[in-house]
């Protein structure tokens, strides 16, 4: 009974800790980029003697620009695949590189890679196909220097579709790999 409670508490606490870790990193990043807006919002307070300050946008170094762009790209965590294929598409390279660089820079961060399939074929075959898709993503990230210990894989096959329409468009949305931090 007590163990049960402890386990339940852990179930709640562990994701919270993980969330905390995520949000603190992203906060510090937005602060860095948002400093210019902070500067211009102190307005109309007489304690300052009525003066109003102005500021200019920060000049970002190319490295910072790249980092901001990758931060934006990392919000995209779904990689789509062709029917019955598990090869990565070139249009997904930017997104995967953004995730890869982040994971290389943060070796303590772990990612779960989910593999999914559309509803055509048998559930059992689609589990195998989903795993192959997840592995293709893991292999790409590993090639960028991400440690295998940072990545785990699960295939849900056709069991967790995003789109239930069972049209070609729906199938395309369901054939995917998802990076879950």
């Amino acid at each position: 009974m007590n163990l049960n409670k402890l386990f339940k508490a852990m179930v709640v606490a562990v994701p919270l800790l993980a969330l905390g870790a995520c949000s603190s990193t992203s906060d510090s990043e937005t602060d860095a980029s948002g400093s210019s807006t902070n500067g211009s919002t102190t307005s109309g307070q007489y304690e300052n003697g009525g003066v109003v300050t102005g500021g200019a946008a920060e000049v970002l170094s190319p490295a910072e620009q790249k980092r901001l762009k990758e931060q934006e790209l990392r919000r995209q965590n779904i990689i789509y695949f062709d029917f019955d294929r598990s090869e990565l598409q070139s249009e997904n390279a930017e997104i995967l590189m953004a995730h890869g660089n982040y994971l290389v820079e943060h070796p303590n961060v772990r990612v779960l890679i989910e593999g999914h399939a559309d509803e055509r074929g048998t559930p059992e075959y689609n589990i195998a196909l989903g795993e192959r898709r997840a592995k293709a993503i893991a292999k790409y990230l590993q090639g960028m220097g991400v440690q295998p210990s940072q990545m785990s894989i699960v295939s849900y096959g056709e069991e967790k579709p995003l789109d239930f329409s069972r049209t070609d468009e729906g199938f395309a949305k369901n054939r995917r790999g998802v990076l879950v931090y």
């Binding site: 019955d84 509803e119 055509r120 074929g121 048998t122 559930p123 059992e124 075959y125 589990i127 195998a128 196909l129 795993e131 192959r132 894989i153 699960v154 295939s155 849900y156 096959g157 069991e159 967790k160 239930f164 329409s165 069972r166």
Partner: protein, 442 residues
Amino acid sequence: MKKLVKWFVLVSVVLTMPARAALDIVITEGVDQARPIAVVPFVWQGEGAIPESISDVVMSDLSRSGTFQPLDTRSLPQGNISDVNQFKVDSWSSVVADAVIVGSVKPYGADQFLVTFELIDIVKAQLQAGKGPVNASELLLESRETVISASQFRQYAHRISDVVYEKLTGIRGAFLTRIAYVVVKQGEKSPYHLMISDYDGYNEQMLLRSPEPLMSPTWSPDGRRLAYVSFENRKAEIFVQDIYTQARTKVSSFDGINGAPAFSPDGKKLAVTLSKDGQPEIYTIDIATKAIKRVTDHYAIDTEASWFPDGKSLLFTSERGGRPQLYKVDLDTNKVTRMTFEGEWNLGGSITPDGRSMIFVNRTNGNFNIARMDLATRFMQVLSSTRLDESPSVAPNGTMVIYGTTHQGKQVLAAVSTDGRFKARLPVGQGEVKSPAWSPFL
């Protein structure tokens, strides 16, 4: 408090269960080829209302078999008869039917009922009419009486259907069987439900409910245990669950895929798919000792094994030829033979109980349908005409296949006879229904 909540949940589940069958069958094709049969409503010899109409269940069984089409009871010339001595041949001279079933039910002590039924050879009766008196017993194909309790009415009705079906076709009836399936109710906290019911959808019971996917239920040969895949621990694991005691055993939890379980004919082993060594491969697991043995070895996908009835070989899906096709592997020699060449894909195969043909999913022109191939002649026949068909499971008498399909944007179960003539749909009220598995004879 916790117990109280549990009870409340249980009670509310029971209260909200519809009294009618959870799965109502809609016969979509094949009624015209079915043979006419007359089922006279069983005569109730008690007070008040009969607990449940046995003859209604028998009529429903016979029409679901696809082989018989019971005549409208209002059109029958005699109504209130329960044995062959009351059967008046002259009245039945114009009725076209293979046989007539009559019977009676009468109270027989506390919660006990005596049920009798007789199967009358109407064709013989009509042929002999006018050739002098006939000994009534010569017209009897079958005659039985049994004492049952009120809770056994449906079960005994299925038993009568089994007897009638076997007497008239020579094939054992599969009416006293169950099906297992997965229901997904999106939006619920625990959307994934593992269910079993009688073969006709009555007596639906939940065996497991989970927030994460449940897959691939399959029956042990004694009809007592189910093996299935559960993602409850955020990974695929194989469990075996006793349907009576509810005892669950985790059988396989390796890294990667633990999937597609199938009991060996002796019930001691499971054929499974594991990807612990890289690619998905077929293994066997000894359920008692957990000892595993690798069967296939190929860089392509190998999965969804099923046993040949002799237990010496497995049928499985492999894409080693480029696309998914069916292969056979000998368990002694590990020798692999390709079984299918026709069509774009052939997968999800199983051997019929007589060992003569196999049932599988065929993809032709991008359409996924259920197909049958004769193992001797290699003749392939596409059986179903529904959409996105998958997970075929053959009835233990080999006459019918139940499978998962899509109808009006929802996953539903459907059935097709192994000759392709009879087609039916089993729609449900709520959620998506999939992964059906037909039990062995019970």
